[in-house]
Amino acid sequence: MDDMRLADSAVKAAETKIAARKVQVFYGDSHAIKDVDIDIADRTVTAFIGPSGCGKSTFLRCLNRMNDTIPACRVEGDILLDGEDIYDKRVDPVQLRARVGMVFQKPNPFPKSIYENVAYGPKIHGLARNKAELDEIVESSLRRAALWNEAKDRLSAPGTGLSGGQQQRLCIARAIATSPEVLLMDEPCSALDPIATAQVEELIDELRAQFSVVIVTHSMQQAARVSQRTAFFHLGNLVEYGETGQIFTNPRDPRTESYITGRIG
């Protein structure tokens, strides 16, 4: 029977990309994340689910040090990317964010052309030696984000002129242009219609072949559809973390069960 669960066995084979140990996050006096231990696998989609305010977005933002920008926010514990502590003083957060990219809830293209949106990251990180190389990165990123066919004839048009779903795929293209190892997505589909959502989900599934994707979502059906691993957060605790099929058919913790089945708990 185990042999038939291909998705599950594929997950078991994947190596740990990010390891978090005893992570605590405080916003001033409030304790937002409590003692979270988690191993996020490489080449796997990991979904973070939980009610609003449970800490899932806060934890996601720890993974590329986005919380550094919030003055009252304090992070304790260890977060290791390929075994290296990302909170080490020698780590440059800008470099880190090139390795751990992020896509946000609302599409936020720069007020520049489609081309410039994608080329921006590779330019500032010096990933292209000349225009030809940059063109190639832009094209391959747009292709991987399934936007190339729609955008190739209007690369100089403003990114903000695209539809919502296209803008979100543009943001994904921008995030993958720097060849990150991990892609963090904070509710990437909540502003999209079902068709655009399906396109982004298909894209997420394809991106999994190249890197680790961590997605925060309020849609449990989305978590079930796109992820191989699901982590359930509640009141700042990581309550349960496991193979997605198991979480959705037979969760071990009653709090997970209450949440995913839509009960008062």
Partner: protein, 237 residues
């Protein structure tokens, strides 16, 4: 899961399909008991009633199937809710089969009514069917009370039914060897015994669904089995 859904219509839908299964269970239990009674008492009218009653059981199974697929499509149940829907569908399918066996038993009771009675056979089969009804009713009680231990007990009791079947098989074989004029009647009686034995297997399946519903895992396939006659050769050896 005792707590309610935030969306109360979800609870009503889940309760609805479970109530239908329980009603179906009651109808099937009654059909078996009445078929057994018709057989022992050679009551043609009662047998006819059982035969006609199977339509209602089949219709209820269809209704449960429709409601369950509707619930899956509209409410996307997960975890314990998903297991409720899946187990309801499987239990309804098992009950429908048991209903068919009861109907078949009633049909054969009609035929047997025209023949010379085989002494003791009607009573033995009726006792056997009562044992199976008890298993069914306990399995459905276990479902209602989410009692995995009772379900496990039902599973283990299938052995008794198997042993009753083995004994009847030998008894009918003896009657047939003694007097070939008994063969037609004994063949019918044997099919009835075999069908009751199959009802026991379905009660076991239902009990296993209860265990799955409660624990989230199907029980291991190592329950005691005692059906031995499939290995009996020529001459009853």
């Amino acid at each position: 899961m005792e707590s309610q859904h935030i969306m109360r219509a979800f609870d009503r839908d889940l309760e609805g399909i479970q109530a239908m299964v329980m009603r179906m269970g009651g109808m099937v239990e009654a059909a078996i008991l009445e078929a057994g009674q018709a057989l022992e008492a050679r009551d043609d009218e009662l047998a006819e009633k059982v035969r006609m009653g199977d339509k209602a059981i089949d219709a209820l199974e269809e209704k449960i199937g429709e409601e369950a697929s509707r619930l899956i499509a509209l409410r996307a149940p997960t975890a314990g809710d998903l297991r409720i829907v899946l187990s309801v569908m499987k239990i309804a399918a098992s009950l429908e089969r048991v209903g068919d066996y009861a109907k078949n038993m009633a049909k054969r009771a009609n035929v047997l009514g025209q023949m010379t009675a085989i002494p003791g056979a009607g009573g033995s089969l009726r006792r056997m069917s009562k044992t199976v009804v008890q298993m069914l009713s306990d399995a459905l009680d276990a479902y209602n009370t989410r009692d995995a231990a009772l379900a496990e007990d039902v599973r283990n009791r299938d052995r008794e039914v198997d042993q009753m079947y083995n004994a009847l098989f030998r008894e009918f074989l003896t009657h047939m060897m003694e007097d070939p004029r008994n063969i037609t009647a004994c063949m019918h009686l044997h099919f009835i015994a075999k069908n009751i034995e199959r009802m026991g297997d379905h009660a076991t399946t239902i009990a296993e669904q209860v265990i799955y519903l409660v624990t989230g895992v199907m029980p291991e396939e190592n329950r005691p089995k005692a059906e031995t006659v499939t290995a009996i050769g020529v001459g009853g050896k």
